[in-house]
């Protein structure tokens, strides 16, 4: 097989060790804060732990989704960026550790675990919402994600050295198998860990809601890493604004998608006006939460929408970095809005306890990135599509 035609000159540059140190410091600070938080208020920390878990899961499984999507769609422009998504999907490996502390406080977090005092409705749901099945599901989700992660990523890394085109074909097949698993696991994972915090409440669109945030978070962290790397010349030569444009356009599209789904969920519940559904939104309309609810529209939709609306803004590296960082913040904001009102019960809660978790998340993500960036190429240099990817123009 002639592999010379699609070879691309790529010389690896090492990531400065400063970044690794920053990641390490952030992780340690975050971890200290988390331990202090658990000592002072374990239940509140448990809720924060769920936010952390859902945030890191978003980045992990969302990045894996982007990798699989590229293989399935045969998209060309994203090939030079795929390796970063592959790195970030390694977040999946630490998810069980992140879930563990929350698991110890299951009785305080999830009302449905109190079998002795369940009302009629929850008794009817007990066939799905019981600790044994919940644990089995969570372990299964983690296992499925990690297995697909290992298969996909191993093939891709192997290709750097062997230049085998067959590996791409194999990964396309793996991706096709992964997709249905992805849909079901993400849907039920979000139902289990967020929706069941209020076991009486239900929204049939909730899985899609979490999915939209997941893809946004994965795209945002990809953009946040890729744009500075390319500007400083860590990736291959020849990547131009057309490549950025595609990243910006996808973020813009999924911002709209999120707004569409979030509004659909709200509209149906508002229209039907059934007490068993509306209480969830009413809870987020009391006390300080009302500002968060209104702020969500601004933070999650309007600001990224306006920021990425025009064509030049999708090609502007500085704008892309700002917007992707903002979208990551907005995802955390969204998860906070989804999860914390269940703890607050009408009263707004925010304090030092909440701070440790995002700091820890940032540190861990930096460590994961630098760990993999130190060991593997920053672009899939053996991928047969890479040459065409560099020539991609709008």
């Amino acid at each position: 097989m002639n592999t010379e035609n699609h070879k691309v000159d790529y010389v690896k540059k090492e990531i400065p060790s400063k970044i690794k140190k920053i990641g390490f410091v952030l992780t340690v600070i975050g971890l200290l804060f988390i331990i202090l938080a658990y000592i002072s208020n374990p239940v509140r920390s448990g809720f924060n732990n769920i936010i952390l878990l859902m945030f890191l899961s978003s980045i992990g499984v969302g990045s894996l989704f982007l990798v699989a999507l590229e293989y399935l769609a045969g998209s060309v422009w994203s090939t030079p960026f795929r390796r970063i998504s592959e790195f970030m999907s390694a977040t999946l490996i630490i998810l069980p550790i992140v879930a563990l502390p929350a698991y110890f406080y299951l009785h305080d977090l999830f009302h449905w675990t109190h079998v002795e005092s369940l009302d009629e409705l929850l008794q009817a749901k007990a066939g799905y919402l019981n600790i044994e099945f919940f644990s089995i599901r969570t372990i299964a989700f983690f296992a499925i994600w990690i297995v697909f992660f290992l298969f996909l990523i191993r093939n891709s890394f192997k290709q750097d050295k062997t230049f085998e085109q067959n590996l791409t074909k194999r990964n396309i097949k793996i991706s096709a198998v992964f997709m249905p698993f992805f849909i079901f696991t993400v849907t039920f994972f979000s139902i289990d860990w967020i929706m069941s915090l209020e076991p009486h409440w239900f929204s049939t669109i909730f899985g899609v809601y979490y999915f939209s945030g997941t893809v946004l978070a994965a795209l945002a962290i990809l953009t946040l890493i890729v744009v500075p790397l390319n500007e400083k010349g860590y990736l291959v030569k020849g990547l131009v604004k057309d490549h950025y444009y595609s990243l910006g356009a996808l973020m813009f599209a999924f911002t709209n998608f999120w707004a569409y789904i979030a509004f659909s969920q709200y509209l149906l519940i508002w229209y039907a006006n059934l007490p068993e559904e509306t209480f969830w939104f009413l809870q987020r309309w009391e006390g300080g939460w009302i500002y968060l609810s209104i702020g969500l529209i601004l933070v999650r939709f309007l600001i990224p929408y306006i920021g990425l609306l025009s064509q030049p803004s999708k090609m502007n590296p500085k704008r892309l970095i700002k917007m992707s960082a903002w979208i990551l913040f907005a995802h955390f904001f969204d998860l906070f809005w989804l999860i914390m009102p269940t703890y607050g019960k009408g009263e707004f809660v925010f304090g030092w306890i909440e701070l440790g978790f995002p700091v820890f998340a940032a540190g861990v993500l930096i460590i994961i990135f630098t760990y993999f960036a130190g060991r593997f190429n920053l672009v899939p240099s053996g991928d047969p599509k890479l040459k065409r990817a560099i020539d991609f123009r709008l």
């Binding site: 131009v240 709200y266 509209l267 025009s310 064509q311 030049p312 020539d391 991609f392 123009r393 709008l394």
Partner: protein
């Protein structure tokens, strides 16, 4: 060289997308501004090769999208809040979430329509539908399998020999000059001429008149009159047949319709008490009919158990209890009489209850009375 013709520009053809992109880059590098590339399908990378600025069309979409949004909001606000406020589903008049889908659709619709119209009218200069490149071999070639470039003569740095040399250097085939067609130059747009506009007006009037005539006159000509007039008397119609001119007639005196025997004791309770006997047997079926009818028609004032505790919240005076000594000693006929004829402020219930049902209600009232004043023999 034909001197009497006016040059539009020079065209050249290429065989592959890569060649045309390279050619576009070279032509734009040479400083030409007025040139265009024609390809059978859109080529990736052509925008940057031709150094095209971002399209201005987006502003039209933005402006018209926003106006559509505001228009939709204003119309719905005017209709639902100001002109015809209706409570729908217990929502406020200004039910913003319900408006959002409509606002969204109208925004998208007006933005897309306006974008197409702007493109046609401003960028394509409608109603001008002619172009010098039409009907040339060049256009035929680039519509099938060739990639062409055309440098226009009105470019600031256009020079025939230089342009020819440049195209030759780029290895273009069939480098040809394109001239304005004589007819095209002399051609004037007749669209806005008064004669044409008057013609349009005539066509519009004739079309509208013919449509009106066809829809309102022809369609109702006999026999296709949609059975609007029929050889029979409709209600409320006059008639020349009868001497009083009325089409509708009263029934003949003394007519009795089936199942509706006239009541003969109006205003005469004593006679009713004496002569009327309950024809129904007090079995489960009749009593349950009586209960159903009593609960529907009698209970609002008399109460479910006949003690006169009205559910009407004092809008009518409460009727006296049905358990009084007087009513208990009444004969069935008296109760029947009250149902048919009314009593005091109670009006007649003859139109609500049939003959059978009235007697069934009488049976049920007897049951109620017995329930509060049971006899000792009932215990046996």
């Amino acid at each position: 060289m034909l001197d009497d013709k006016i040059l539009f520009g020079y065209t050249g053809l290429f065989n592959s997308p890569n060649e045309i992109i390279r050619a576009a880059e070279k032509v734009s590098d040479a400083g030409y501004k007025k040139y265009d590339v024609n390809t059978p399908y859109p080529l990736h990378g052509m925008n940057s090769a031709m150094k095209l600025p971002p399209s201005k069309l987006g502003y039209a979409a933005l402006i018209f999208g926003l106006s559509g949004m505001l228009a939709a909001l204003a119309i719905m606000y005017w209709v639902a809040v100001i002109d015809y406020p209706l409570i729908i589903g217990g929502k406020p008049f200004f039910a913003f979430p319900a408006f959002v889908p409509v606002i969204f659709e109208v925004t998208v619709l007006s933005a897309s329509i306006a974008t197409v119209l702007t493109m046609i009218s401003i960028f394509f200069k409608f109603p001008n539908i002619s172009h010098p490149l039409h009907d040339t071999d060049y256009m035929k070639a680039v519509s099938s399998d060739k990639y062409g470039i055309c440098i226009q003569a009105d470019d600031a740095i256009f020079n025939e020999t230089e342009v020819k040399n440049l195209l030759e250097k780029l290895n273009a085939h069939e480098i040809k000059p394109i001239y304005y067609d004589d007819n095209e130059i002399k051609h004037k747009n007749t669209v806005f001429e008064p004669r044409f506009l008057i013609l349009l007006l005539f066509v519009a009037l004739i079309t509208a008149g013919a449509t009106y005539f066809a829809m309102n006159k022809l369609l109702y000509a006999v026999p296709f009159n949609w059975m609007e007039t029929q050889e029979k008397l409709n209600v409320q119609e006059s008639s020349v047949f009868f001497s009083d001119g009325f089409g509708m007639r009263n029934p003949v005196d003394g007519t009795v319709s089936r199942g509706n025997l006239p009541y003969q004791f109006n205003g005469n309770p004593e006679a009713a008490s004496t002569y009327l006997k309950n024809p129904l047997f007090p079995d489960d079926k009749n009593i349950s009919i009586g209960k159903a009818k009593y609960d529907t028609y009698c209970s609002p004032c008399h109460g479910y158990f006949g003690e006169g505790n009205s559910r009407m919240r004092g809008q009518f005076p409460n009727p006296p209890t049905l358990h009084s000594e007087k009513v208990r000693n009444w004969k069935d006929g008296s109760i029947y009489h009250v149902i048919v004829d009314g009593q005091n402020i109670m009006s007649s219930y003859a139109s609500q209850l049939t003959y059978q049902e009235r007697w069934a209600v009488v049976l049920y009232i007897r049951v109620l009375q017995r329930s509060l004043n049971a006899m000792e023999s009932d215990l046996e």
